[in-house]
Amino acid sequence: MRGRDEEWTGLMRAANAGDAAAYRRLLEAVAPVLRAATYRGLARAGQPVDQSEDIVQEILLAVHLKRQTWDATAPFAPWLFAIARNKLIDALRRRGRRVFVNIDDFAETMAAPATGDTLSPGEVAAHLDGLPARQRDVLKSVAVESASIKETATRLAMTEGAVRVALHRGLASLASKLREP
């Protein structure tokens, strides 16, 4: 646990210093842990567990958009799990359940099944079409078709700067759409 937490904290510090590869490694490392904990939280609340991937994606979006609230002198894991717990509670409430989620669900999660991607996360994708055209096109290109910023810029006849702006705004609008009840 401690080794894992220290690794995450180190990666997030590197990410804040501008290391995008470290940031990606961090998100890839936390996703399976979030998936396992979300899965367990849903099961405990008597909810269908096939929504867990939607919630994992929602957590990742919140982590991304709120990462300035992480205090770089503090460990990363408690911050991450606080966001995860908040998002899980939110998701359960939206489904009409008032459930107390124990933080230990997250903090003690070790198992990290990689089965998540075989599930069909649809919530984020469903909201994509509701975005303004430019944000949608850029997000689809980067996130669905895995194109780089550069390729996306060429494909959509935009500057790279404009692609970056549209990408960031698109992610922010996705998060706010997911928040709506």
């Binding site: 995008a20 990742l60 609230t69 205090d71 996130a143």
Partner: protein, 212 residues
């Protein structure tokens, strides 16, 4: 959308690091300041006997109370904007203005007075006080909520309430320079009621706008 693709998109957006909340809150409050001051000067203005009043320790005490409230609430607000902090850990700071006013009341009790305590408590400006503090607090509250939207509070209602307290502290600081009622008893009752109202507005607004 597959999660690994979403992660790729997030990583592609890694270089747009969002701005930190502390400086944003400072900027927002600085921007609200001229609005509140303009409202204050056009409606009330400072009291005419400002120079002599400044020699009255109970006049000065009002500012200690309102500024202590504002600063304590700013500190607590910044903590509550983080997802992993709790009100239990930082909320005690808000006791500070209460302690100052209690000391003030005790000090005033020991002094000889021409007016009975009840008339000092009721004062002459109770209604003006209750209406003015929320009015001058409003620009600060709007600014604070706007800045705190960048945060990720575990409890948006409490975060909004604290934003209300900081706005009330700043609004009351302006009002205190107009009001001729300097008794700590007056401050305890009427300033507190006005503050509670602004805090309630902040809580209701925070519940809606500070969710992340």
């Amino acid at each position: 959308m597959q999660t690994d693709r979403l992660i790729a998109a997030l990583a592609a957006d890694a270089n747009t690091t969002p701005r930190r909340i502390g400086p944003m809150l400072a900027l927002a409050l600085l921007a609200a300041l001229p609005v509140s001051v303009a409202l204050f000067m056009s409606i009330l203005g400072m009291r005419p006997d400002m120079r002599t009043a400044m020699h009255n320790p109970f006049f000065d005490l009002k500012f200690m109370v309102t500024l202590a409230l504002a600063f304590a609430a700013i500190v607590v607000s910044l903590h509550l904007a983080r997802p992993e902090t709790s009100f239990d850990r930082w909320g005690w700071l808000l006791v500070l203005p209460v302690v100052i006013i209690a000391v003030g009341i005790a000090a005033e009790m020991t002094m000889p007075h021409q007016r009975p305590w009840l008339s000092r408590l009721i004062g002459n400006n109770a209604m003006a006080c209750m209406a003015s503090i929320p009015l001058f607090a409003l620009p600060f509250l709007a600014a604070a909520l706007l800045a705190l939207r960048r945060g990720a509070p575990a409890n948006p209602t409490l975060a909004g309430m604290t934003a209300g307290l900081l706005a009330a502290g700043l609004g009351a600081t302006l009002y205190a320079s107009h009001c001729a009622d300097d008794s700590p008893l007056f401050v305890m009752v009427w300033y507190s009621l006005a503050t509670a109202f602004v805090a309630a507005v902040g809580a209701i607004a925070g519940r809606r706008v500070l969710r992340y």
